[in-house]
């Protein structure tokens, strides 16, 4: 949420609201620490038009952006997935189950170069 130069509100945390009015602009710089600790002068925490616009505008904007980023991170981490559902492309049966097997004697008979086989249209039933 962006604090604009006109009358607007910025919310820090869950219950801190500042109303800014640029009718009486006075540049006062406060750190985040002071904002979070709510140690700002009382006149800043008033919803009257006599509040001064602070250079803390930029700090609040950063704070809002940071909170938004943290929220996004929490949102992304909230997705649950079971690692067992991930595909293992390299899964292999190293030792095949025992099955009947053996060796046979073979004679090899050379038939020369292959020739193409008759073709069919596999789209036709």
């Amino acid at each position: 949420m962006l604090v604009q130069h006109t009358q607007a509100t910025a919310t820090i945390g869950t219950d801190r609201t500042f109303l800014f009015d640029d009718t009486n602009i006075e540049s006062i710089s406060y750190s985040f620490h002071e904002i979070e600790k709510d140690t700002l002068p009382g006149f800043l925490v008033q919803n009257t038009s006599s509040c001064n616009r602070l250079s803390v505008y930029q700090e609040i904007r950063f704070r809002i952006t940071q909170e938004f980023a943290n929220t996004q991170q929490e949102y992304l981490e909230s997705f649950f997935y079971d690692e067992e559902d991930l595909l293992d492309w390299d899964a292999a049966i190293i030792t095949p189950p025992p099955r009947p097997s053996g060796t046979i004697r073979v004679k090899l008979k050379y038939k020369g170069r292959s020739k193409p086989f008759p073709f069919e249209n596999f789209w036709e039933e």
Partner: protein, 181 residues
């Protein structure tokens, strides 16, 4: 930017899309029944032929020293001049080859002619109906001694594997939509 179809390979490296020319393929006899195999004294005659084949196994499964396959999957490759010797067959005509080129013959994939400086090859057709397996070590040794071996390059290689998958995943509908005439 040009996208060549082929490159020359001069090693025992195996990748999907590698063409092995005059590669031996073995055919067991039709009487090789289970009962026949139980006879410890049995002898069989395996016929073998020389055939151009193309590697269909994934390249990542064939990395030397890290093979994941003991056997390489191969498909037959026919030269266009070999197909014209079958006068009544669809692919022996230009119209048939055009149909295959457009992907309307699911069992076949046309490969472009090769016009590398050292190697010239005519148009060829990959036949997905004929698949073979040969030991990986055998294929590697065969590839190592092959002269002027060519390799199908991306994206034509991936186009081939996609067509291969398409052939095997085709589904015939029991009640199809009648043709629009």
């Amino acid at each position: 930017m040009t996208y060549p179809w082929y490159c020359l390979v001069d090693s025992d490296e195996l990748k999907q899309g590698d063409i092995l020319e005059d590669c031996p393929v073995f055919s067991p006899p039709s009487n090789l029944t289970p009962n026949f195999l139980k006879d410890s004294e049995a002898e069989a005659v395996f016929e073998w032929e020389e055939r151009d084949v193309i590697i269909m196994s994934q390249s990542c499964d064939l990395v030397k020293g890290r093979e994941k396959l003991e056997e390489v999957l191969l498909c037959a490759v026919w030269k266009q001049s070999e197909l014209t010797q079958l006068p009544k067959e669809p692919l022996s005509t230009k119209e048939g080859m055009e149909e295959a080129r457009k992907g309307r013959r699911p069992a076949f994939q046309v490969l472009n002619e090769c016009e590398l400086a050292k190697v010239r090859k005519e148009f060829r057709i990959v036949d997905f109906r004929r698949t073979y397996t040969l030991p990986t070590d055998f294929c590697r040794e065969f590839a190592a001694i092959a002269q002027n071996r060519i390799r199908l390059l991306p994206p034509y290689r991936e186009h081939l594997s996609q067509a291969f998958a398409r052939f095997f995943m085709r589904v015939g509908l029991p009640t199809d939509i009648p043709s629009f005439k």
